[in-house]
Structure formats: structure tokens, C-alpha cells
Amino acid sequence: MQIRAYITRRLLVLPLLIVGTSIIVFTLTRVGGSPIGIYLSHEMSPDEVAELEARYHLDDPLPVQYYYWASGVVRGDLGWSGVAAAPVTEVFAQKLAATMELAVSAAIVAVILGISLGTFAGARRDRLPDHVTRIFAISGAAMPLFWFAILLLIVFWVYLGWFPIGRSDPDVWASISHPTGLYTVDSLLNLNFVAFRDALWHLFLPAMALGYGATAIIARMMRSSLVEEEQEDYVDAARAKGLPERLVLRRHARRNALIPTVTVIGLSFGFLLQGSVVAEIIFRWPGLGRWMADAVLRGDQATIMAYVMFTAILFLLVNLAVDVIYAYLDRRVVLGK
């Protein structure tokens, strides 16, 4: 079957792409010189530094260093994070849930808001709601997240006091057990609704801030593909047989307009991943993004390398999933062309 062959081929290319990415990123992150700085302290003698360099193979040529890094990865060893003073894999496991919770919430916000806004605007083409949505969408592409997030904090945290900053109220956080690390899920598993409310309350502003850019992308795509579908013959046919406009939209046009929108959802996921670095800094969210920002400022290359590879793999997988879903949804697509 065609789709199966396509997926198999994409899956076979995936590891090559990942290895290629790791080689390029590894090389680029070493052009600035040895990453030894983060492991040093002031009391070390030159001999001790040399010994440390030898121990981490930093005195070897770049391909050899890459070999050591890659064989470490295969063994599940991503190196030592100087910033967190712990092995990278350990810190990753701790912080992954916080970032995922934020990114997934933002994605939910973006998909729901983006599709409804796009539908709303597309069905009212060239009227006021359409223009407003267009401005909203173009602003989203131009909006610096670091500014938007701070504006939200100024209004809703400082002046109105409606929403808190951070990920949780420490007392409430401590009152429940954390089997998954996802605060919302854990609070529900504990059947603790005070904690659940606390989780959502803390999640609201960062998810809104992070979701805005992606909402704009999705709304725009949804709007334009809906406008396009509305001009198709099948829509006229549905109208001609006397179907109310509302049902023409819901049963026919919107369903088909969703197909191209799926592709930008994958794209906007990259937006969410990179945005989480900024959102986590501003909202004091204890996730991977903030750790990465610290690592970047202090030259913690083991962390940088791990984080970049994590994002790349996630981004590749999401885009693969999107292409596959797209292929299933739209059988007209000729795969691999």
C-alpha cells in the first residue's frame, strides 16, 4: 500500500536526519572552543585542567570527541550539566513534565482558538470579523513573545492580581503526590481539586502567552482554506439541495478546510517549542526552556547539545506525524512528490 511504503521510507530517513543534525550541531557548538569552562573552578592548577580535559577527551580531534559523545548517548549518558550540577539525563527527566504540560496546554489553546477564529472569519469573508481576525493573525506573527508575556504579567499579575506567577503554590504542590510530574494530571489522580485549580490558575497566563503565535498561524490558514473550499462545487451542491448554511459550513466546508490546517499545526509546534524558552524565563516556570537559557548563558554545552537534539527529534517526529495524518485525510495527495 502506498501510504505504508511512504511511512516506512520516512521512518528510514529519520535516523539519518537525526544523526546528520547531531553532527552539524555538535560541530557548530564546538567552533567556539572547548566546553571545559563550565567544569572548572578557580582553585584548579593548569595540570588539573589538563587532566580534566584528557578525562573528558576534550584534547582529542573533533570527530573523536563526537564519537565519545555519540557512544555516551547510546549508553543513555548525555553528560554532566554544570548549571544543574547533576547528570543531564536526570535533570531532563525532572524538567520534561513541566515543559510538556505548558507546551501541550498552549497547543490546545492554539488549536481550539485558531480553528474557531479561522472558521468565524472565513465564514464572514471581507466583513468586519474577517478584518479583525486578519489583524490579530498578522500581529501574532510579529509579536515578540518576551514582550507579550511581560505585558500580560503587568496587567494580570501586577495590577489586577488575578493570576499568579510560577508553576504552583508550594504548599499545595507539596500536599499531593506526583506520579507523572504533570501537575494537572497528578492533582486529578489525587482527586485533589484545590490542587487542580491551583495548577490551572498558574497555567493560564503562560499558556495564553505561548499559544498566541501559534493561534495566529492556525487561524490564518484555517481562514484562507475555508474561503477556498467555499468556492468548490460540492459546497454549491450542498446549498442547492437546500442544506442550511450552518450545516454547509459544519458538515462540508469546514471539514475539508481542516486538512491543510493540519500541516500548519505541525509547523506551529516548532513555534511553541522555541517559545517555551522565553515563556519559562518570564513566568518562572521550572522547565527545560529555563534550564536551556541558563545553560546558554553559562556555556553548559552538554545541556545545550541535549536540549537542541531533543527539540530537533520532537520537531521531526511531529512533522512526520502531521504528514502521515495529512496523507490519510487527503487521499488526493501524491506522497513523496
Binding site: 557548538t29 498578522i138 515578540p144 481562514r223 522565553v278 537559557a293 545553560a295 548563558l297 530537533a312
Partner: protein
């Protein structure tokens, strides 16, 4: 032997070709100016570029380096409207108004340098891949795939981090990341354009490959690159300011992202101005080029236009 270009028929043809081009140019202008959002973008662009151009006339340049923020240690965190500081100061006594004005120049420098480098590199690589095809194309495009597999900001962040915090390194990091799109666009264009009959015709009359490329292929492939470059004039400032906000530029530089970052510390104490104004400038800058680039795309490549 008579040179073909001297014959009257060819001269007339060349003349009318010019007239056609001129006419098209006029049409282009009309369709750009008939769209209100495109015009709004253009007005904003002119405004932003004027601020950058006339910076020394708007505020007294700081000596010795006008790109460094002047520090007024007697006026730390004063609110907007204070004497000498119309938009207030940051927590280290930096005048927000000065930062906004000279930040426009910093942004202009950043975007022009990065766009120039990435367009040249991307167009060259994309053209080679598209024009040569075969193994060369295969290898170059796999490299492009790898670059596209990492979200832009994170890639730039990693590179800038390794190079060390400075404005110059932000420029370098963005240049490494942003050329890829141009390579992709240009390759697709070249493959499409070189199938045209006029390219075959040029080959038949014995034009060299280089001549065919510069005379026929490049001018007919370049418009989507121009659109992308316009959008990137905005995007690069957006990403660059984000890197600076995170802390990858020299502290003290008159740059919008740094000012937002300096202002961030004060918001819990109600000092909203030091982040709000410079951030607004980043937004307006990116908005200007997005609005204009969007309109330009509608006009220049009707194929990609889906909104009508």
C-alpha cells in the same frame, strides 16, 4: 558578419520589452498601493527607517560610542514624563527614549547585515543545487533538511551561546540559521524557470551557462526571494531581540531586547515603562515588514496567494 543586436527589428523588440517592463512596474505600484494594510506597513517602515536615519538629530549621541546607552545615575527608574527622560529610565539609569531611538539603528544594522548575508548565501547554494541537479543537488538539499529540523530560535540560541555573548555573534548565529529558506526557495524557482523555452532558446544560440543563469534564470526566479527577504527584515529583528533579551548581547548596548530584559526586574514594583516601550518597538518593526511583505507576496507571486 552583422551583430544580431544591431538589426532594427531586435532594437524595436528590446525597446518594447522595456516598455512592457515599465508598464508592469507601474501596475505593481498600483496594486501595492491599493491594499490598505500594505500601505500601513509601508508607512510604518518609513517611520522606523526615519527614526534610525535621523537618530543623531532626535537625541544627542552618546560619546564615544552612540550605540552604548548613556547612564544617568542620578535618575534611576524614574517614570515617564520626568525632566530629561520623556519615557523614563531603567533600573540602571538608562534613558528609555534614547534606547528606542538608537535601538532602531541597531535593529537596522542587524537586519540589513543578516538579510544581505543570508540572501547571497542562500541564493548561491539554491541556484547551484537547482541548476546543476543530480548528486550536488542531493547533497546540498540533505544539508538544508538538517538545518530545517531545528526550530530557528533554538538553533540560533545554541550557536550564539557557544560564540559568546555579543552583538556580532548574534549576527553570525542568525546568518548561520536563516540562509536555508532562501536556498530552498531559490532551488525550487530555478528548477521551474530553467524548463522555460526561452532558456532552451538561449542554449540553442550558444549562450554560456553563466550567461543563461544571470540573464534568464536569476531575474525570473528572484521575486519570491525578495518577498521572503522583506518578511525576514522583520523576523530577524524579532529573533535577534529575543536572543538579546535572553542575555546574548553585551549589556549596555542600545538594543530593544536588552531594555525589555532590564525593565523586567521592575515590573513587580509597578515600573512598567522600561519593558513596555522598547518591546512595542520590536513589535512595530516586525509588524511593519510583515504587513508590507504580505502585500508584496500577494502582488508578486499570485500562485502562492490563497486568501482571495
Amino acid at each position: 558578419m552583422v551583430d544580431v543586436a544591431d538589426t532594427p527589428a531586435v532594437a524595436v523588440a528590446a525597446d518594447s520589452a522595456w516598455r512592457v517592463r515599465l508598464g508592469r512596474f507601474r501596475e505593481l505600484g498600483v496594486s501595492i498601493f491599493s491594499n490598505p494594510t500594505t500601505v500601513a506597513g509601508l508607512i510604518l517602515i518609513v517611520l522606523m527607517l526615519s527614526i534610525a536615519a535621523f537618530a543623531p538629530l532626535i537625541t544627542e549621541p552618546n560619546t564615544p560610542d552612540p550605540y552604548q546607552m548613556p547612564r544617568d545615575w542620578s535618575a534611576i527608574s524614574v517614570p515617564p514624563g520626568s525632566p530629561g527622560h520623556p519615557l523614563g529610565t531603567t533600573n540602571v539609569g538608562g534613558d528609555v527614549f534614547y534606547g528606542i531611538v538608537w535601538g532602531a539603528r541597531t535593529s537596522l544594522r542587524l537586519s540589513v547585515i543578516v538579510v544581505s548575508i543570508t540572501v547571497v548565501v542562500g541564493v548561491t547554494i539554491g541556484s547551484i543545487a537547482g541548476f546543476r541537479g543530480g548528486r550536488v543537488d542531493e547533497v546540498l538539499m540533505r544539508i538544508v533538511d538538517v538545518f530545517l529540523s531545528i526550530p530557528e530560535l533554538i538553533f540560533a540560541l545554541a550557536i550564539a551561546a557557544v560564540l559568546g555573548p555579543s552583538f556580532r555573534n548574534i549576527v553570525l548565529a542568525l546568518a548561520v540559521v536563516f540562509w536555508v529558506k532562501y536556498a530552498r526557495i531559490m532551488r525550487a524557482q530555478v528548477i521551474h524557470v530553467k524548463e522555460n523555452e526561452y532558456v532552451d532558446a538561449a542554449r540553442v544560440i550558444g549562450d554560456s551557462k553563466l550567461r543563461i543563469y544571470f540573464k534568464d534564470v536569476l531575474p525570473n526566479s528572484i521575486t519570491p526571494v525578495i518577498t521572503q527577504a522583506t518578511l525576514d527584515m522583520g523576523n530577524i529583528v524579532l529573533v535577534g531581540a529575543t536572543l538579546a533579551f535572553i542575555g546574548l548581547a553585551e549589556a549596555g548596548l542600545a538594543e530593544w531586547g536588552i531594555l525589555v530584559s532590564e525593565g523586567q526586574a521592575g515590573i513587580s514594583a509597578g515600573r512598567w515603562w522600561a519593558s513596555t516601550f522598547p518591546g512595542l518597538m520590536v513589535f512595530l518593526w516586525a509588524l511593519a515588514f510583515n504587513l508590507f511583505g504580505d502585500g508584496l507576496r500577494d502582488v508578486l507571486d499570485p500562485r502562492t496567494e490563497t486568501s482571495r
